[in-house]
């Protein structure tokens, strides 16, 4: 058996593996992923999204921009960060809810707690900081200078048939502010 062989030939690694296995079991039990103890459970729960969804259209310098031409990675960065930004904004820019930070770090001395708390949250981030970055990355992936962009969220209906409504659920407008000369 592999473990017997490992024990016989490389005892330190055997014990290291044992500790890793216990840690993996612990994090699986707690259902908290802690790299490198991955929890490979994506799409394992029953999906509860209804028949209504939302889609974001990008208008770059006043013209529609086809985001489907971007690669999966570029879309992940643009839309993943945008979804996170919207969620954060609704939660006053806390990356993880403040109760968890307090609960986990409460034993730290104040001198360490304060900087750690600040570094784990996004309290110093503002709308303009995020949108200016988004414009920079959009310029990077589109190869176009971004003077302005608009993000229009519309409703998508799946039943009785797939249909994108021409409504505006939310709107983000950004215009590049030229630097003072």
């Amino acid at each position: 058996m592999f473990l017997q062989q490992l024990y016989r030939h490389w005892r330190k690694m055997f014990y290291a593996l044992l500790v890793m296995a216990l840690a993996q079991a612990f994090f699986m039990y707690k259902a908290v992923e802690t790299v490198p103890f991955f929890l490979y459970n994506m799409y394992s729960t029953p999906q509860r999204n209804g028949d209504t969804a939302y889609r974001t259209a990008i208008y770059l310098n006043g013209r529609p921009f086809d985001a489907t031409q971007l690669s999966g990675h570029e879309q992940e960065t643009l839309f993943g960060s945008l979804a996170y930004f919207k969620k954060l904004k609704a939660n006053r820019y806390f990356a993880t809810d403040s109760a968890t930070v307090v609960q986990r770090l409460r034993r730290l001395p104040t001198g360490l707690y304060r900087p750690a708390y600040k570094r784990l949250t996004n309290t110093s981030v503002s709308d303009s900081a995020f949108l200016e970055w988004w414009a920079r990355y959009l310029a990077q992936v589109s190869g176009t200078r971004v003077d302005s962009f608009a993000l229009v969220e519309s409703t998508v209906l799946w039943k009785p048939a797939y249909r994108v409504l021409k409504d505006t659920v939310s709107l983000i407008n950004y215009r590049h502010a030229p630097a003072d000369r």
Partner: protein, 279 residues
């Protein structure tokens, strides 16, 4: 009977795996996904992951991501260490540097994108090369092989445990999140499956069984070629059906390639000219 400890062609494997990693990094570069190409994102996403917390509390990912100079320097170290180990596979220091850079890259990628991705192949496969002695390398490579198997089997078991397997419209609802508008065949396939949730769910269930079937690899290496085929099938289905990039995770198949046979073929080839010369 105990399985024998096989001497693996470490140098060849190091070159193959690191050439593969370098290719993936070039692919990331082509898709604006290296750290300096993110253009200094302001948001962080440590979620509840303790490792993310530790690194973010130490201000390491933020310092790199938010600085044009440091992010460029980081990418240079990442690509440079991978290239150097590819050229000098006996220099473990380059491997250690590349491992640290790849793991840090993964954490920054998850933090900047607002979702913790699992580029597991990229993270696990370089680890065995930290060992230089043949015996230690064999065991390390085997552990990574078991690790990949464990993740796949877990993924299948989670689908049963959390109930996705039994929820009739599950796959169709997953597909709705990935639906690609357009007129291409991939878009047609996605919409066809969304319109036929029972068919989509059979695919989901087949995938679950396929993942759990990987457990056979815990008991024997005899079916590694089959597992290789199953993992390839799984990853290719992910591209075609869910539009999930393939190259990010492609390295996961490497532990199931017939490295020991490749070594034997190479040895046989090396011996042939000698035999001819003697005659």
């Amino acid at each position: 009977m105990r399985p024998p400890i096989v001497e693996l062609p470490r140098t060849l494997m190091a070159r193959a795996v690191y050439a593969w990693i370098l290719f993936v990094l070039v692919y990331f570069f082509a898709h604006n996904s290296l750290v300096h190409q993110w253009r200094q994102p302001p948001l962080i996403y440590p979620e509840a992951d303790n490792t993310y917390w530790l690194l973010h509390a130490l201000y390491i990912p933020q310092a790199i991501m938010r600085s044009a100079v440091l992010s460029a320097l980081f990418d240079a170290v990442l690509v440079g260490s991978v290239t150097l180990f590819l050229v000098f596979p006996r220099r473990v220091v380059f491997c250690a540097l590349s491992v640290a850079a790849l793991w840090l890259y993964e954490i920054m990628y998850g933090s900047a994108n607002g979702h913790h991705y699992h580029h597991v192949g990229l993270l696990l496969l370089p680890l065995p090369f930290l060992a230089r002695a043949p015996m230690k390398f064999y065991f390390s490579w085997s552990i990574v092989r078991y690790w990949v198997l464990f993740l796949f089997v877990c993924s299948g078991v989670y689908k049963l445990y959390y109930g996705g397997f039994f929820f009739e419209n599950n796959m169709a609802l997953v597909l709705r999140q990935h639906a690609l508008e357009g007129h291409g065949w991939q878009s047609s396939l996605m919409f066809r499956l969304i319109d036929h949730p029972a068919m989509a769910q059979r695919l989901y269930q087949a995938t679950t069984i396929l993942q759990i079937a990987c457990a056979i690899g815990f008991f024997t290496r005899r079916y590694d070629t089959l597992i290789l085929g199953l993992l390839l099938l799984f990853n290719l289905s992910n591209i075609f059906i869910l539009n999930i990039p393939f190259w990010d995770n492609s390295l996961m198949i490497a532990p199931f390639l017939p490295w020991a046979s490749i070594r034997r073929w190479r040895s046989a080839l090396d011996r042939t000219p000698t035999a001819l010369t003697k005659k």
